[in-house]
Each structure stands twice: as C-alpha cells, then as structure tokens.
Symmetry: C3
Subunit: 265 residues, 3 copies
C-alpha cells in the first residue's frame, strides 16, 4: 500500500472523510509541539479527534499528540490515516491571526488537506504514511517508571537551558530521601545543578531514580513547551523519560519519550 | 556630462539650490519604499517637491516616488537633478528619532546633500545620475490596464506572503463575474489562493484580467508597504501590475510597476 | 605561582574567603560592561568590594570596574585575587530574573565560584590570574587629560553609531572657544560630525583637545553603556580617552581607557 491517504480500518474508501473548524492558537500550538522533534509525522483523523505522532530519525525520541474533538467546532471524521510535512503545515497555520477560525477538510481524491481562513485557501499535499518512521506502539508500557514529578513547565525549560551552558547531556532524577527532583550537568570546566523540593513542585512520586539524557532532545522539547502549564515527568534508572502535558484548555495532550544515554559512571 | 549634481533644465548652475526641513517619519518611509527595490536612484528637487525614481538592474520593476512640497517646512528648491545611494541615505535618516525635524540642504559646490538633526551633521556624497539606470518615462501610458482594485495594504502583503510559501511566482487577477480579486500560486506540491470579494475591498474596477509575476519583486514591495493604508492595483492580462498608494498624510505617493512573467498556461 | 585563586597579600591561604548576595541586575550589568571588551578578566574580592579588570589582547583598551560592598547584602571577603571567563559568567548570571537575589561564594579548595539562585547551583571554574593580560597600574596618572565633558550616555552612543556609518575611526575633541564637544568621522565618500554645546552637556571642562580613536573599541563600549546615565569623558591631544560612569545606584563604577590612533593629519 503506497498511498498518501490510507484507510485506518479499511471500510469503503469513499466513506473516508474529515472536516472541522479549529481555533488558530490550538492548531498552531499542536503543530509546534510535534515540529520541535520531527520534520514529518503520522496524522490520523477519527471519531475521538486528531492525532499526530512519530519518531525522530535517530530513534532516540518519539512524540504522540492528540487534539481532542472538544478542541474543534463542527467536527466530522471517519477514521483516516495519513502523513504530513510539519514545516509546511506550520507555515500555513502560522499565517492565521490569534483566535482566527481555521477550517480543515480532507480531499480524499487529491490526497490534500484543505486549510481555509480569512479568504485564504491552501491545498496541502499529504504524505504516504508508509514512508514515515513509526514509533513503537504504547511505549510507556515497556518502561519501568518508578518515580515521577509534576513541575512548572518554565522551571523545566529553565533547568534544561542551565544544563545546556556546560554540557551536551544532563541527568534527571529524584532524591527519594529529600523528596526532591534534581537536574545535573557536568561540563569540562563547570558544573550546574538544579534542585526542586516538594515545595517547588506540584507533585512528587518519590523513588530513588536517575538517568542521563542528550540535551539535543530535551532542549528542543523544553523550548517548544508553552508557559503557564504543569508538566508531568516519569522517570526510572537508566530508563527513558516520559514528558507529558495538556494544552489548549485540556483538549490537547502530548507525550514525549526520550531514550537514556548510557551513563558513564 | 558626468557630474553628480546636474541641472534639470540648465539655467545658470549657481542658481541651483535646495533646502528644506522634513519630519523624520516621512523621509524614513520615503527612503524605505524606494530602497525596497533599488540600491541607487535618481533624485530631483524642484518647485513641486522631491522625487526619487529608478529601475531595478534586471529591468523588471520600476519605482517612482514623490514627496510633495506640503510634506516639508521651509521648502526652497530650484530644479536640481542628481542621484543617491539609498543604503547610506537610509542609514543616516534612520538615526533620527520619531517625529524629529530633519534639515536637508544641497551643497552644489561639493555635490553633497547635508543632512542635519539633533546636533548631527552628515555630508552625503551624491551620485552622477548619468550612471544610474533610467526607467521609461510615464510607463503607465504604455500599458493596457483594463481592471483594478483598491485593497487594504495588509491584505495584499498577507496574500503575497502566503504565495511565497509554495512558489516563486504568483498570479494576480480579477474574476469579473464575481467582482472578486484573486491571488493564486501553484507550487510543486501545494497550492494557495486568496479571494477578496467586493465586501473585502475598497473598490473593484471589474474586468476579466490575469497576469503572472515573480515573487522576488512583489515580496519586497509588500514587505515595505506601511500598514493601515489602501493600495491601488491596476491590472491587465499578460500586462504589468501598477501598485500605487499614498503615505505621509497624502503628501507622499509611490508607484511601482512590475513586468509580467510569461504565463506557462 | 600558577594557581587559579591566588592570595592578594599572602596571609594564610586557608583564611581566604568570599561570599555575598547581590541583586541580579547589578551583577549582570557589571559582567556586560567588562565583557564588552574582554573574554577573560582579573577578579578580586576584598573588604571594599569586587573588582574586575583587564586589557584587550591588542593592548589598545583597558577596563577597570568596581562593584562596591554597598551593592551586596551579607558581604564577607578577605582579599582574594583570581581570574574569570566572562562569557561563562555572563551566561550564568543572565539566567537570573530581574531583581532576583544571586548568592556568590568562593570555594577556595576547588578554585570555583559557586553561584546560586532559585534552586540553581552553578560551579564556575576560575582561571589562574597569572595567565591573563594585566593592564598598567593607575593608567590615568600617566596621561595628560587637559579637557573633559560629562554627557548623556545615549548621546555618546548615538554619536559613535553615526561615525560608524562612514568610517572605522573617529575624532573626539573639545572646541575651547565654543565650549563644545565634537565627534567627527571622515569616510571615503561621506563625512559625519556631531557637536554638543554646553547646553547639551552636563559639564564642560574646556581645553583645545582632539584625538583619533578606532571605532572597534568605542562601538562596543557605547553599545554596552546603560541608558539614562551620565558619562564622563577625559580628553587630551593625541592622548587616550578615559570613559567613566557609575551604575547600580552609584555602587558600581567603571573606567575604560582607549589608546589613540596616530592622527593622519
């Protein structure tokens, strides 16, 4: 099967369809969050909402984003699965003004996504999803996340930027005795650490955990994170980190998984 | 004749003179609008005002700008014709604060334009106008502009930027039946179009017209356009487009002409 | 002696110490003012305050900055002398929010400066001061500054930026007859000058003086200068210029010395 719009569960192709209206802010945020990690992603439209997901070329990090039906007006979809170039999609929706209504419609025949707002009509050619790297299904079930914290997104981004000053990797962990989340980076000359105690955090699920990650991935994920929201981090020892939060008044949710680096200790 | 200040209609050179005071905003805008297209331009000072004009090196686009006597205080000029480097002129007037008075005076002897404001005095060497490409006289009389629209400048810039996402050229035209102005661009993968109906426009002079243009020119003209003004577009079929508007409280006016590309249809 | 923390006047090393708390704005400004000219500088902590100083690699310009004890809370120091990388120090203190308290402490054992704010702890490796170029002691006593002016810092920066449009050097001087400070630059095609009379200046110490300087140095010094303060310029003929001002509510002071270029007149 090599088509840019394929059928999720193979009823008659002629019945596959999608059209909906969405606030420009919600779709712009959604595209930015996925584009932080990927150039192209899988895209599905079904009864529950729109999903965008994929894995980076080095297979270190994956992202899975859902914009629920509740984020849209006039939502109509029967299971459609396709792929999209995130740079072009981001350019188009980026032309919309804050709060403007963006109308999306799938043209199954031409395999394009029609994007309309303010007199503008953009026909975006979709991509055959078979050509896009596919992340493992349900990655979180394969990992052993013993601990976790819920932190302010700005604190997380700030810690990652601090680590980026001295090194190309950082450790994330929890000090179970102190109920504290820590970020540590050791550079050739300088070291940096950030400790957030229970008072600084929304939630701590204590466990003695620590893993090392490449800053290449955490930096772009941190920078893309909207302000003024809580981010949930699930952590283990020599395990991936799951970075999850909601956006668009809780109608959107995103989960990143980043594989650990082998610790040099 | 190879002088950087020449005499428009050749009375005694010693009587050639120019001096005037102008609001920084007006001269900054004027220079920006011409510099969008040209590095150097023709410059004349005469009884009616200051004129800056020229043609781009590829002879695809021309600009002709007038800042009328009404834009100046203490205006004194006897027909002088010269040439100027727009990058240097733009740098100097760009140093003035919003609303500051900028005094201009021609030093005929040294062939410099003296620019003074806030204690600063800048002596700008003028350029021999004979070395600067000259556009055809009165270009608009040579073309067959059957139709036209008056639109919001921001809408025009927005349409051009949208076209720029998918292609390096765009079509401008009028759908006579619908009284609608359209912008269309076809890319290798994606297409974009913008339709502005009579309700979205200030004026429509309907005629069935359509021409293709290079985005290189329309992009820089669109970006240089000040906000909150109406732009008049005159259009034909396989004809140039004339892009005209007023600025500086109607004391300034500019006209761009851009030649069409050969349509591939 | 080749240690990154050395003892200013050689009592027992174990007694050498420094710790203090400072407002983020004050330390950020201090670092920016020195980093404008230098990559690394000398650093001392003693009873009177913190001093940062050095000379640029071409030995054309020097800077000497003091942040007095009054700028700090909980200040404790016994004469310590070391060196610091200004880029890394600037990155760390730049992470602090406006008005945030930044805690500094010297770890004599590890020769690091510990910088703490908002849960972040950064261990900055200090540099052996013996490896850093040392400016001449008390440079101002060696020069013949016959005249001087006190001007608005924005006017000084503005004049330097104007000169930068036409040339790579500029003359600074005083016209004793007119009690006026002047800045002049002659380019290949254009000339620029700025004259500030006694009315435009805070103070004039008149003398017929004029020296030529490289814009490389004056540009970076001008750009780094905070707004809304008065700058004192001491001038001679074919002499250096001393550029001095206070910041951080007068708890900080900085002096730049820039050597003259040989005048081509």
């Amino acid at each position: 099967m090599s088509e840019s719009v394929s059928d999720a569960d193979a009823p008659e192709a002629s019945t596959r369809s999608f059209q909906a209206t969405v606030n420009a802010d919600a779709i712009q945020t959604a595209v930015d969050l996925v584009a932080a990690l990927l150039d192209e992603c899988h895209l599905s439209f079904d009864e529950d909402g729109v999903r965008m997901w994929g894995m980076d070329p080095a297979t270190v990090a994956s992202v899975d984003l859902t914009l629920e039906r509740a984020a849209f007006d006039d939502y109509e979809a029967t299971g459609v699965r396709s792929g999209v170039d995130l740079s072009r999609l981001g350019d188009v929706v980026g032309m919309a003004d804050r709060g403007q209504s963006v109308h999306l419609a799938l043209d199954h025949e031409t395999r394009t996504l029609e994007i309309r707002f303010g007199g503008l009509e953009y026909a975006l050619a979709l991509i055959d999803p078979e050509t896009i790297r596919r992340p493992p299904d349900r990655p979180s079930e394969n990992f052993d996340f013993e601990g976790g914290v819920v932190a302010d997104a700005d604190d997380f981004d700030w810690a990652v930027r601090a680590a980026d000053m001295v090194s190309d990797h950082l450790a994330l962990g929890i000090d179970a005795e102190e109920d504290a989340f820590f970020v540590e980076a050791e550079g050739d000359t300088d070291d940096v650490s950030l400790v957030l105690t229970a008072d600084d955090l929304v939630e701590v699920r204590s466990a003695e955990v620590r893993s090392l990650f490449s800053l290449d991935y955490l930096s772009v994920i941190g920078r893309a994170m909207p302000s003024d929201l809580d981010v949930d981090l699930r952590l283990g020892t020599e395990q991936p980190v799951a970075i999850e939060y909601e956006f668009a008044d809780e109608a959107g949710s995103v989960a990143y998984f980043v594989a650990p680096r082998i610790s040099r200790q």
